[in-house]
Assembly symmetry: C2
Homo-oligomer: 165 residues x 2
Amino acid sequence: MEDEVDRLVAAWRRERPDLDVEPLEVLSRVSRLARHLDRARRLAFAEHQLEPWEFDVLTALRRAGTPYQLSPGQLLTQTLVTSGTMTNRIDRLAKKGLVERLPDPSDRRGVLVRLTDTGRDRADQSLAGLLTQERAILGELSQAQRAELAGLLRQLTAPFDNIPG
Amino acid sequence: MEDEVDRLVAAWRRERPDLDVEPLEVLSRVSRLARHLDRARRLAFAEHQLEPWEFDVLTALRRAGTPYQLSPGQLLTQTLVTSGTMTNRIDRLAKKGLVERLPDPSDRRGVLVRLTDTGRDRADQSLAGLLTQERAILGELSQAQRAELAGLLRQLTAPFDNIPG
DNA sequence: CTCAAGTATCTTGACGTCGAGATATGCGAG
DNA sequence: CTCGCATATCTCGACGTCAAGATACTTGAG
């Protein structure tokens, strides 16, 4: 089956036959698919009265395990947002009673963000919903294909995640 | 090499051994990679005094071929933004002299957005820059792997692009 | 012809993000 | 000890996006 990127690449080959646009076959699909996923996630989370950004923060804390707390800095690297954004997110989540801010006992510059019981429940519920939806999207692929795809993507993400880029 | 998603998945398996989180191996990588790509693109375009959103609109028009014009509606489907956003983008690009708005001769509700000569040059220059950068990112993969990856991604994007989703 | 439903675009206000700078604390060389 | 640089977080203003609704035109059934 054809997709928008096939059409996009064909158009470039017609308009700029002098250029090799093959990189777009991979990277434009990544960007467009991410955009579609954002929309789908927004719908899935709406059932749990959560925004995608709230999910990202709550689940990062949930994954940390008991006592479900991380510094704002640790949350930054996991969610790929800037520090001003994270301050804002923590403020709003705290106002909703899903997280609380505690002073870091070992560094007086620092703060720890801790999941409340309510926040933990929300994280658990919405994760289950997300997985259900993602399985539907991946239904197109066999188990072997999913593993193949994950491996190829890892080769692209690893440099970003490891080198301080 | 390990990436952030490997760590994320390992954490979920520890915290929620009851859930099958395998879908995240693919889709979390897609979302995170897209985020890294956004940042990289922003840097690449800065050399041409262009924002990523400006590139998206200008190149959609450039790909259309002579006379480089499309309706706002056609631009929506290519760029995955809402109509209010596109109106705003066209306003700003017109103010910079990169596009111009013309009445649609065949439908008085409609408008055609046309690339100016300056806009066309900018689109061509920045596309070359983008491709150079994308080739560097894809350097991790062999030609065969890139083709494999593109094919797998197409299977995921095609349903979104074809069914009116 | 007429009118209702459909379509294309624009308007508006709320919202989340970014980037640069501010503040406060930690740490190592001398 | 102390000075200067590094680090952790927060503040603030500008900006881009979204969703919902408004406006203007088109189309087809009757």
